[in-house]
Amino acid sequence: MTPDVKKIEKIIDRNRGDKTALIAVLQDIQREFNYIPPEAITATAGALDVPLSKVYSVATFYNAFSLKPRGKKVIRICQGTACHIKGADLIQEQIEKGLGLKPGETTKDMEYTLEVVNCVGVCAMAPAVLVNEKMHGNVRCEKALDLVKKD
């Protein structure tokens, strides 16, 4: 599947020539495609007049960016301190086992992607799991997998 070049162009056009917009452009691209296609990296470098190597550095430095296509459901397990001491590891283990994924991986059918984040700021509801934009608090380890699959 090749990404829609026109869509990439449209996102980049808003910031043409503005080097400082690099991160914002990559964020917009990721929002559109759910990941950052290689074509977009090359196009961004050209349009913002930033060396290709620097765009690639930025795209790999920040956690928010994924250079691989992600699944329909992106599951993000919060590994903040509060979640950690309330058993986030166990939840992660259950979901890893249940979906056969390690963090950063996507199921073959492109249904699920598993990611780990360092605190989403709902520490009061620890442990927390995000399924796409939806937040789940006080997640029980034995129910984690069901919750993710149902959502």
Binding site: A24, K54, Y62, I85, E142
Partner: protein, 617 residues
């Protein structure tokens, strides 16, 4: 409507105030992140629906208002009914009709939804009498939970933009700086540097343009006060930045919001748009020579970007690698220009200092740490949420009186403050009066104010390992001590957790920690060993237990523990249901057993057992 003069602002505020206080009946539904996760949006929608259906004469449909976070997150979704202040907890959409009928129409309380005092077991009808709120002194959080964060009118109604008007009308930039300086305000983001001094230095630098940056990259895991402020009272942050810009002579501000806070970006952008529309941001604000605008930058998910020089690189669209700060960023910051960077809570506090004066602020808190501080309570504590208290309050008061103590009658073991840059303090430090300096002296740090409470089921070696792992993942990788040193510390600490560590490993960790502290390039590395060193200082016996006795006193490190069920088991099946790997067998009312070959030692059985029948050895 464009407000281009002081009289117009006064007039507008009056109108907003009239409308705000004139609402006879107010139903405030908390739409903070935690309450949203608990389904508060559905509760809000239900209120709208029911109120519309009922068509009450004196209660308009608009009586249901959105608010930001109220702070008492463990009890969400929260609903507050004004003017009585009736405080309902854990409200479900199905409760809404009853609330409207009983409380709104007939003025009766619904007991089961009221807060129940854990000590007295009594129901408390209004929030002012709940210890969690009663002990607080809210300055930075003054409007949080009281106003609709999406309405500039609400902010004006509660006195918003009074401080900037006062500064522009009656004060010189120098007077604003002096006032902040005299208030003793110290940066709420971490190190506690004097805000006034920072502004004064920047104002003196002979270079232009100058920039104002608000650090909303609340990266410390366990801290969520800045998220709440940005999401629940965004205009207070804008006003604080405006005051700073006026004081140091800046025309452009930036708010750097972390990637994980999408809701904060929405509320802030909405607030900026409203402020621009009404002329409170932009050219010639309130008809004066002062012009200032603000742009939001979203972070990319990198903890190191909370460090000021890395944050500035990130705003410039680069990799967030810090630089050596032998030349301060107030002199050479963003785009190599003089830059003031303060965090969200600091900016949200500033308008109150200008409005009420430095004397008022300096009168709160301790001599060297004035004012109040917001703490987020999380972990093994009954009342999780946000609290704002005067500096100098003891840890015990925060954890037990406000936080309601430790759940399940377990024992307090440690409180972690300051995130990955801070440390863990033990029970003997509970009488510590919390301020910037006492925490640092105790081997921890204020940081942004996150407090994670840990009970006796926490392994401190494992906590140290957790933070080292966090830092290894978040190190930018530029300098050797941080990149290689923390990596090696993590490996050594993991070895100890696995029962393979030696006493020499502990010595090596201590030795290397010191080098990392001195030799690292930025604050992340320099403070990186703190969680390890503080646990080694206060919980050394746990490290020794792992090394010498091959035991994990907290019952966490899997290589060193076994779970068994004793004969006291009542056969309630709770652990059987909770076990994620079906390792527990047994029938009702008969003693259960754990199949050790299947057991993953997750501890779920231990946590659900109400009869203390699961033992860790």
């Amino acid at each position: 409507m464009r407000i281009d003069s002081f009289p117009k602002l006064v007039k507008w505020r009056k109108e907003c105030g009239k409308e705000y206080t004139g609402r006879k009946r107010k139903v405030f539904v908390c739409l903070g992140e935690a309450c949203l996760a608990n389904g508060s949006q559905a509760v809000f929608d239900e209120f709208k629906k029911v109120l519309k259906k009922k068509k009450l004469a004196d209660v308009p449909v608009e009586a249901a208002y959105k608010t930001g976070c109220h702070g008492f997150c463990s009890l969400g979704p929260l609903v507050i009914l004004e003017p009585e202040g009736t405080f309902y907890t854990k409200v479900k959409p199905r409760d809404v009709e009853e609330i409207v009928e009983k409380t709104i129409v007939n003025g009766e309380h619904i007991d089961r939804l009221l807060y129940k005092d854990k000590e007295t077991k009594e129901r408390v009808p209004d929030h002012n009498h709940i210890p969690f709120y009663a002990r607080q002194h809210r300055i930075a959080l003054r409007n949080v939970g009281k106003i609709d964060p999406y309405r500039i009118e609400d902010y004006l109604a509660v006195g918003g933009y009074t401080a900037i008007a006062k500064a522009l009308k009656d004060m010189t930039p120098q007077q604003v700086i002096d006032e902040v300086l005299k208030s003793g305000l110290r940066g709420r983001g971490g190190g506690g540097f004097s805000t006034g001094r920072k502004w004064a230095t920047c104002a003196k630098v002979d270079d232009e343009p100058r920039y104002v940056i608000c650090n909303g990259d609340e990266g410390d895991p366990g801290a969520f006060m800045d998220r709440t402020t940005m999401g629940s009272d965004p205009h207070s942050v804008l006003e604080g930045m405006m005051l700073c810009a006026y004081a140091v002579g800046s025309k452009q501000g930036y708010i750097y919001v972390r990637e994980e806070y999408p809701l904060a970006v929405v509320t802030l952008q909405n607030a900026i748009d409203q402020a621009r529309e009404s002329g409170l941001l932009g050219e010639n604000i309130l008809g004066t020579d002062f012009s200032f605008d603000i742009k939001i930058n979203r972070g990319g998910g990198a903890f190191v970007c909370g460090e000021s020089s890395a944050l500035m690189k990130s705003i410039a669209g680069e990799v967030g690698e810090p630089r050596a700060k032998y030349i301060r960023s107030v002199v050479k910051g963003l785009f190599d220009k003089p830059t003031v960077l303060n965090n969200v809570e600091t900016f949200a506090t500033v308008p109150q200092i200008i409005e009420h004066g430095s004397k008022w602020f300096a009168g709160i808190g301790t001599k060297k740490s004035t004012g109040t501080k917001v703490f987020s309570l999380a972990g093994k504590i009954n009342n999780t949420g946000l609290v704002e208290v005067p500096m100098g309050i003891t840890l015990k008061e925060i954890i037990y009186e406000i936080g309601g103590g430790i759940p399940k009658k377990r024992t307090f073991k440690a409180v972690q403050t300051g995130g990955p840059s801070g440390g863990c303090l033990p029970a003997e430090k509970l009488d510590l009066q919390v301020d910037f300096d006492t925490l640092t002296d105790a081997g921890s740090m204020m940081g942004s104010g996150g407090m994670i409470i840990m009970d006796d089921r926490t392994c401190m070696v494992e906590v140290a390992r957790y933070f080292l792992n966090f830092l290894v993942m978040e190190s930018c990788g530029k300098c050797v001590p941080c990149r290689e040193g923390l990596y090696q510390l993590h490996k050594l600490c993991t070895k100890v957790c696995e029962g393979k560590g030696t006493m020499e490993d502990i010595d090596l960790m201590e030795k290397m920690s010191k080098t990392i502290q001195t030799a690292s390039l930025c604050g992340l590395g320099q403070s990186g060993p703190n969680p390890l060193l503080s646990t080694l200082k206060y919980f050394r016996d746990e490290f020794v237990a792992h090394v010498k006795d091959k035991k994990c006193p907290g019952g966490v490190c899997r290589d060193l523990i076994t779970f068994t069920i004793t004969d006291e088991c009542t056969g309630c099946m709770a652990c059987v249901k909770a076990c994620p790997v079906d390792a527990i067998s047994g029938e009702k009312k008969k003693v259960h057993t754990i199949d050790q070959s299947l057991c993953t030692k997750c501890g779920s059985c231990f946590d659900v057992c109400n009869f203390d029948s699961v033992k860790i050895s």
